[in-house]
Subunit: 318 residues, 3 copies
Amino acid sequence: MKAFKFGKLAVLLATSAMLCSSTPVFAQTAKASDSVNTQSLAAEETAKIRLTRKSAAYWQVTFNNPPLNIIGPAEVRELVKILERIEADPKVKVVVFDSTVPGFFIAHYDLLKPLEDSTGMEPGPTGMHPVPDLMVRLSRLKAVTIVSIRGRASGIGSELALAADMRFASSENAVLSQFEVGAGFVPGGGPMAYLPRLVGRGRALEILIGADDFNGELAERYGYVNRALPDAELDRFVDALATRIASFDQHAIVETKKLVDRASMPPQEEMQPGWDAFITSVQRPAAQARVKALVEKGLQRPGDVEKNLGQYTAKYQE
Amino acid sequence: MKAFKFGKLAVLLATSAMLCSSTPVFAQTAKASDSVNTQSLAAEETAKIRLTRKSAAYWQVTFNNPPLNIIGPAEVRELVKILERIEADPKVKVVVFDSTVPGFFIAHYDLLKPLEDSTGMEPGPTGMHPVPDLMVRLSRLKAVTIVSIRGRASGIGSELALAADMRFASSENAVLSQFEVGAGFVPGGGPMAYLPRLVGRGRALEILIGADDFNGELAERYGYVNRALPDAELDRFVDALATRIASFDQHAIVETKKLVDRASMPPQEEMQPGWDAFITSVQRPAAQARVKALVEKGLQRPGDVEKNLGQYTAKYQE
Amino acid sequence: MKAFKFGKLAVLLATSAMLCSSTPVFAQTAKASDSVNTQSLAAEETAKIRLTRKSAAYWQVTFNNPPLNIIGPAEVRELVKILERIEADPKVKVVVFDSTVPGFFIAHYDLLKPLEDSTGMEPGPTGMHPVPDLMVRLSRLKAVTIVSIRGRASGIGSELALAADMRFASSENAVLSQFEVGAGFVPGGGPMAYLPRLVGRGRALEILIGADDFNGELAERYGYVNRALPDAELDRFVDALATRIASFDQHAIVETKKLVDRASMPPQEEMQPGWDAFITSVQRPAAQARVKALVEKGLQRPGDVEKNLGQYTAKYQE
């Protein structure tokens, strides 16, 4: 495997390992899950990310990795395989992304895996690291992508939602956030490219640097999501919209999307710098100390820290 | 008359004519209305598009073509003539666009005229087909343009509203939509250029590809219109705003608008590709079949299809 | 002192002076306040613009120039000095801007000082006139800037808010406006560059050319401010957000902001043309007559004109 900027990072990792002896952040290993059986993706109820073909034209991708729907290198690889299927299929017109996990759409990126598991991943077809590669390819799919957010969508959960075409949130039960600056590092999945173009520079800076939780209703007012809907109506609304689009002519969909993208797609060139800023920043002692403090309080385990992440990032004392 | 891409389209039209023998879409002829008496525009109460000079500085353009305010090649030519008057006048500062037709601002482009009536039109001064030419010149007027939307503004009705400077809608009685993708073709009047820059990529994709009806209140929340106002207040509000602007100094208006446009005018280069995508897509069998089915159900005649167009586009069975 | 485009303006000033014999607009002199004691800025309760270091990371800039918080050349110089301190400080992470003056955040630019006091100012480090220079440098600070708006923020008050990173307004007591076109001239502090990128072209044209007052609630709906908050909660909210950001890691803040700015910062090249358009337009007889009429009714003095500026600009009779 060709290491991604391996030389530089190996050095930095040595530093961060020394700083984090009791609760190593980005330093526990769980390689077993890396060998994903791609054959089983469509069928298995037990898949961490489940692909359901509701019809030839309407597919569903369901995050099913309790208790928090954490996304790490293994899940990124699963998502890339699903993305390849969507890219390769000539008939799919619309894909809905949702979650089976109560309280969580996607909590955030895996902060307990060794960082080299992330940095060592081979670049994707865009030439970028698989995380920005995934985001860009998700945005550029011919199929229309709709994200249905119930529960927390923080960090890479928010970033996946932003890279998709449309976002709908539960008024009562959605929480969106880019918590990263609150934990001492720069978000890596491209929200600095996507958010300002959706909500304007002022609200983007508040979301990204205030780094606090946004409920569905406020996310709608800001334009962070298309619309917030009463929780009891969310599934029916998203399904009706997807069914509707699946019934339309593919040529008309694809050509229309192409021209919308010409007017408004964030330039790909802004994505890799965001990932690089994440990797650089997360290895700094300041970030390591903040993440360590959050992990000690309960980050990446079910409980109050994950539920009220916006409050906990502000409690750090230098 | 110099045909616009005539060679290619003649071939495609032959194909579409064969497919649509019972209800020819874009294939009935009504050339009488093409000879517009431009002299009468300002005065005649019976003009399909009525130009009223409320004062030297404040003009009004009223769509008055019942029962649906359909815009076809003849009406485009009328609009172009009105546009030329606005362009040529040194004193007009503000132009309000509204409708006298109950229930309709502008239903949509004429889908029953022969397509060659549209494709055969001579390019406008921008070098583009008269429809994108009209939109670009509308946006670039020195005069400020305000659209008052009561009733349905679909397709080219929505596109005219987007190309104007400001849009206000009746909370109770406005319906905006880009229904085209639901009818199997790409919108031709530039909404892929205008909408993403007003409402962001996510909401633009929902409007354009979901292709459903938006009421005034939701249109405001999305930024599709400046503001929705109670129906009883709409006329007074728009008139007060226009009167206000008409009282201001023209130099200040023009120079301010110039700098706003430098920051935010959609590039003209995005407009002709949208029109070309419309012409290509509308001739495909998939679009011809969908439009034919809609026409058979009542499209372009008063009744439920035009009132609830968003519902009917989703009812098509392949 | 090196004059800023002095030759041309001297001629134009001669013209305007002749037109405004009874109430000279931009023509009274008060040079005393030009010599600002920069040493005292931080400490003095009596400073017109007060800099308070609430902590090493959290600073506050308070406009304290009753009765209207007018900003003229002298106050621009004070602001530039404060800006230089923020730029030079390695530790400050967040700066809140607010006002002590009841009813006014900042009324507008000083319209009673001689215009040459403004045009004669030496260019700032960006090479631009100090007003656009100030706006650009405010936007490009490494520190996060938050504006808390209670009372009227018109003209340069609105422009400072737009050039800052985030804006929060009192629901009950904030009034935002770009009144300039209503007074016959083009706004000079860059809102044509900032507003369309925050609120879209349609709403920007309404704000800038309608030139009317926007209350906090409507400003939020338009995206003119991040959020409107009940007056009783505004200070606590802004303080909590600033305290929160001040507790975060500076590297993460700065690198995140850099990438947001890459995606959404208005280009500096649009700022000087706005200032030039202001200077040119404000010297025209039409503007001089309108400003003179407003001054005669009470502009730049406490009273109804300043409170309801949007109404008074529309009352001018040519």
